[in-house]
């Protein structure tokens, strides 16, 4: 059970959260303009990164807010969590965080 740092509430056990899949996949602004291929990519294609992965969590049994996280999928260590609308931390900012 992971320990997740909700940017609104602080560290809480994973049981309070729901995983929301890969982060930063925007729904196309004008779906009608998308080709079938583009729409399928929006729906289904995922980076599935082995390494540093941006993902969404929702603190469902807490503040209810969605937020984003950077997690290393080879160790499950979180490098950062940040609010919706914020940019992920840069490599420089992440330096010094133990992966």
């Amino acid at each position: 059970m992971l320990l997740i740092n909700c940017p609104y509430c602080g560290e809480r056990p994973e049981l309070e959260f729901v995983h929301g899949g890969q982060a930063h996949i925007a729904r196309p602004g004008d779906p009608a303009e998308c080709s079938d291929q583009q729409w399928a990519e929006y729906l289904y294609r995922r980076d599935n990164i082995k390494g540093l992965h941006g993902e969404r969590w929702r603190h469902t049994h807490g503040c209810g807010r969605f937020f984003n996280a950077l997690r290393d999928t080879t160790s499950d260590v979180f490098l950062a969590t940040y609010k919706v609308g914020e940019q992920p931390p840069t490599q420089a900012q992440l330096k010094g965080v133990k992966a």
């Binding site: 992971l2 994973e14 079938d36 291929q37 289904y44 294609r45 599935n48 082995k50 999928t73 499950d76």
Partner: protein, 416 residues
């Protein structure tokens, strides 16, 4: 290939079991092959075997970054069944069950396929509808599956608690031809048989790139042991499929999740079949060694760590103890995790890819072991013919673009 039999065991027993040869050679990579399979699990080894045996390709290599059978092949709960809902799925999995039925003899390796029957429990009115739909659909497809009342289910599995539990058992679907097999033996048996047909099995060789020629076709793989060329490359890398396919620029609709399983300490035979419950999320059987083999669910998040959360295995044990309250006094002996590659419709991909000469077999999610010989057979066919076999023709990558999903998960539907 040295023949395995009771007689050979006795004969060699008189001389201290000396004289057994390695079951497969420790092959060094050659410069070029006719075909390369990436991934030395049961699926990949099997594909190499069928390429050599049925399609006459003997210059075949299997490259494995670790040791063969060390991924999901050796980390699953070994359940085999084919009672899937959709016609496409039923055909695929039943193809596999049919191959299982003679696999020990074909490979001359006892894979211990044990058709002890798979019981799938229904706990709600909705479950009953779903189970019965499966039973009817399976019968139409020529797949055995029958509906049992709670009493009949208890006759199959006397320890099963059907009443006085939170979700009483209202009945069960029972596939008698389903069962279990010995997972390691499948990898080793395919390896040995493929090796005997000239296939090179190259362990400790990690793929770090896929080379494409001027026309964009795949022409070989870069590995930690050098470049190996081949005009046809089949990728069968389970949880690492995304990682490998990206090397060729192919993006997959796949995510890799941790999946856990666990066993109890061994006890004398007490559990005659396989029992599965989708509603309370548990499945269980007893291995020939006596351990109760229990499957848990996937974790919620993607991960390549081969381990999951404690709460996931706790939940699986809760469910087992609910159905089998006498097992509360048993003890967990071992718990482990694999990485399962999950597609949006929970059905696999066995297909050509946008890159000529590159083929993929992936997306088996939590259920790949049962498909081992079938998937291997179909991947080999697809590579050999550069075209899918009719059975795997629907299992393309493009189905996600076109909307032709084979959605076994959705069809199990949700409670209303």
């Amino acid at each position: 290939m040295q023949r395995f039999s009771g007689l050979s065991l006795i004969r060699r027993g008189l001389t201290g079991q000396r004289g057994w040869q390695p079951q497969w050679r420790q092959a060094e990579p050659k410069a070029a092959y006719d075909a390369i399979i990436v991934g030395g699990g049961g699926h990949g080894l099997g594909a190499a075997f069928y390429l050599a045996k049925e399609h006459g390709l003997t210059r075949v290599a299997v490259v494995e970054k670790g040791w063969i059978g060390g991924g999901n092949t050796g980390r699953n709960t070994t359940i085999i069944r084919s009672n899937y809902l959709f016609d496409e799925s039923a055909a695929l999995y039943d193809h596999s069950v049919q191959l299982w039925e003679s696999l020990s003899q074909v490979l001359n390796y006892n894979v211990m396929f044990s058709q002890r029957g798979v019981l799938m429990l229904a706990h709600t009115v909705h479950d009953v509808q779903v189970c019965q739909r499966h039973v009817h659909a399976n019968r139409a497809n020529g797949v055995d599956n029958e509906w049992l009342t709670p009493e009949e289910a208890r006759a199959v599995c006397p320890l099963l608690q059907t009443d006085d539990i939170r979700y009483p058992v209202l009945g069960a679907a029972f596939q008698r031809r389903g069962g279990t097999a010995r997972h390691d033996a499948v990898a080793w048996g395919f390896a040995r048989a493929a090796d005997a047909l000239g296939v090179d099995i190259i362990e400790n060789c990690e793929v770090i790139g896929i080379r494409r020629d001027a026309h964009g076709a795949a022409c070989g793989i870069e590995t930690t042991r050098g470049f190996i060329s081949a005009p046809r490359i089949g990728v069968s890398a389970a949880g690492h499929s995304s990682v490998i396919m990206k090397m060729a620029g192919v993006e997959l609709p796949i995510e890799s999740y941790p999946l856990q399983a666990l066993v109890s300490e061994p006890v004398k035979p007490i559990f005659p079949c396989v029992v599965m419950s989708n509603t309370i999320h548990a499945y269980i059987s007893q291995s020939d060694k006596g351990e109760m083999v229990i499957g848990a669910g996937t974790d919620a998040y993607t991960s390549y760590t081969q381990r999951g959360g404690l709460h996931i295995s706790r939940h699986a044990i809760e469910a087992i103890c609910e159905l089998f309250p006498m097992f509360r006094r048993l003890r967990m002996l071992r718990n482990w995790g694999g990485i399962v590659d999950v597609t949006p419709d929970r059905s696999p991909i066995i297909a050509k890819t946008p890159v000529p000469g590159l083929y993929v077999n992936c997306g088996w999610g939590t259920g790949g072991f049962k498909a081992t010989p079938g998937a291997a057979h179909l991947l080999a066919w697809t590579i050999a013919h550069d075209a899918p076999h009719p059975i795997n023709a629907p299992f393309t990558i493009e189905r996600f673009r076109d909307g032709n999903l084979i959605d076994e998960a959705a069809a199990a539907a949700v409670a209303h």
